[in-house]
Symmetry: D2
Subunit: 215 residues, 4 copies
């Protein structure tokens, strides 16, 4: 069996759960298409520690596909990210108390990396499974983006053949009971991530689906 | 067995489904607390026809509890409505082509009716069941509000002992696959409506839960 | 000269200014159409004290037109309110520390009062002056709504021939410098209120402009 | 006098005005700090033609500072962009009918360019002038982003010492009269752009102001 690595984050910003980990842990040990097995790993919501934990997991599992998940409170859809940028600009301290402002993630790294996942095929597959989805053009400047950038930088530096990327997920209803914010149940998100992973392993070249933003 | 009437609307405004009916029809023939049976009736999304169909269903079923459901695209929570107002002001034609502007629903009726459902207890029960919920202070000025007003006016005019009101529900994910709008799966909404109905039959006097709006 | 009374509120909810008073005080002592003079009065943001201060101002000025203004943080347009409802449901304490939950404003009053201002003509006039405007169907359940209800109840009980109502206004840019919320400069809002007042004194019967909400 | 180039776009997407050009043309021929003169140039809202027109203007004016403005309907603040990415993904055709999907702007260019404007100092200056402002981490994937990318690529390829970047601006009230969307009057935006330009010419190294996004 070939390995797929999926990661989710610890809760942060005062929340007691993080939907990215709730989704990831539901997928742990699942097989996909009789050829892959999914391994879920929780990452700390901290700039440095997340990078370290992710690299360790990659070294251990040698995955063919890596998808990091992160919480995007306020978004209504599952959003595969297009691009990771080489900056940390923290609006709140991370879970280790670090709060970098406009520092590069890697001093010698390029400005940005593209996701190497077929993001349009993934969006198409999720919508076909009745899961709201869209491409996102910003992963922010906090731990989600820095982990995504560190992932792509490691895959590049180590010359791995792994396809890798990041998906932001909305709140779960448990987090929005008394506030007006979009949410999707974990079951809906798990269904979406499974068909997105199927799209990854089935798609060599991405689909020419328009899913851009005017701004 | 005592009867509960739940209604949902036909699709309107270019949509092919209406979550209010999808939720209602899932509840049809269900029993509640071994004492009630739920009857689901679909209403036309038209000012006049909805009123007629609703009054017929009330006469036929003599329900103890009536909850009309309606779609509120853009809302993120299940929202029991507090008040129905005596005006029709249609931003789009209804499904019969009527588009009244600032006309009263009932020439001789009062400005407004309160819901006679325990809306705070319903919200509390839904949140306890992990379903996002909040009281709403406006049902709009379209067919949802006019049906809600017609319901309360009929109950009042006929001197029925029925408790009655209205709940707006969000889009389903099927309706928001490619647009950024909040949605909840029909299963989540069905779960919410069931515990809300349980709260109705268990609650004689509403709870003093603050759930107001500053505007 | 005939009198027009315009009111605005004190700051509340942690804000240091209240756009409703900033707008109102810019209009104080202005004449309108060579026939009216505008008097601005600040009301406390407190359920009981606002009602007292408003009734005093009415008794003193005997205005022909009364427009109470209130802040609606998050709205993008100037919104004449259609209806005041007979309930106080405070999500935060008022400036005197009161926090009523689901209490009537007037034990013997009707469920609701309509605004007696030509709200459609006002919206039309504001838009014609390049000021974003729309009818609102809920003034909330806090001090704005209770003052609006108390106003209409007093006019009704005293059998005054005054035309009266309420307009919610957005934040000013000074309040949204570092957060993503709609705002309009006080100059834009003052321009809007002036043309809205002109529409009031020029309009005997309101315009049949559709400006309703589906929910 | 040293030259500053400011650009705005033609209307697009069914709008009859474009606030980016309304702001830019108000600044044409203005001097700044007795040392600079601002030149406003309108760009076509088309992938190829905008790039051509921009390069022509740069060659003609040899500006020390270049700020391209673009409309971001739905945003509430003036938003200096942090990064331009090397992709065109058009959700609607441009004004010449082109609709590229996932094509690079420059086949040989890097994934992304940073703005070389002091975006934090600009945001700080605008807020100090009572103009809502924030850093944005995505300029989208349409003509705004492609023009921003083409700008940075040209400055880089030509080894110019010009500091350059992009600012997205909200709708004007004229565009939102009857819809609920944030807007700022052109006067407010002009005031903001002037102080932002002053910040550019006064700031050698950007300020360490946190203004990031968690996603």
């Amino acid at each position: 069996m070939r390995n797929i690595l999926i990661t989710g984050f610890e809760p942060f910003g005062g929340e007691v759960v993080n939907p990215s980990w709730e989704v990831a842990r539901h997928l742990d040990e699942r097989s996909l298409e009789d050829a892959y097995v999914i391994h879920a790993v929780q990452l700390p919501t901290a700039f440095h520690a997340a990078k370290m934990a992710l690299e360790l997991a990659i070294d251990r599992l040698l995955p063919e596909v890596i998808v990091c998940l992160g919480e995007a409170g306020g978004r209504a859809q599952l959003t595969p990210e297009r691009v990771a940028i080489n900056v940390m600009d923290a609006s709140i301290p991370d879970n280790e108390g670090d709060r970098p402002i406009d520092e590069p993630i890697d001093e010698a790294g390029p400005v940005a990396y593209w996701s190497t996942l077929p993001i349009k095929a993934m969006v198409t597959a999720m919508r076909a499974a009745n899961v709201p989805a869209a491409v996102s053009n910003t992963a922010g400047t906090y731990v989600c983006n820095s982990t995504f950038y560190a992932l792509m930088h490691y895959v590049s530096a180590q010359k791995l053949h792994t396809r890798a990327g990041f998906i932001h997920v909305p709140y779960m209803p448990e987090q929005t009971l008394a506030r007006s914010a979009p949410a999707l149940p974990v079951e809906t998100m798990v269904k979406g991530i499974i068909v997105a992973l199927q799209a990854v392993v089935q798609t060599a070249e991405d689909l020419p689906l328009a899913d851009g933003q005017t701004h």
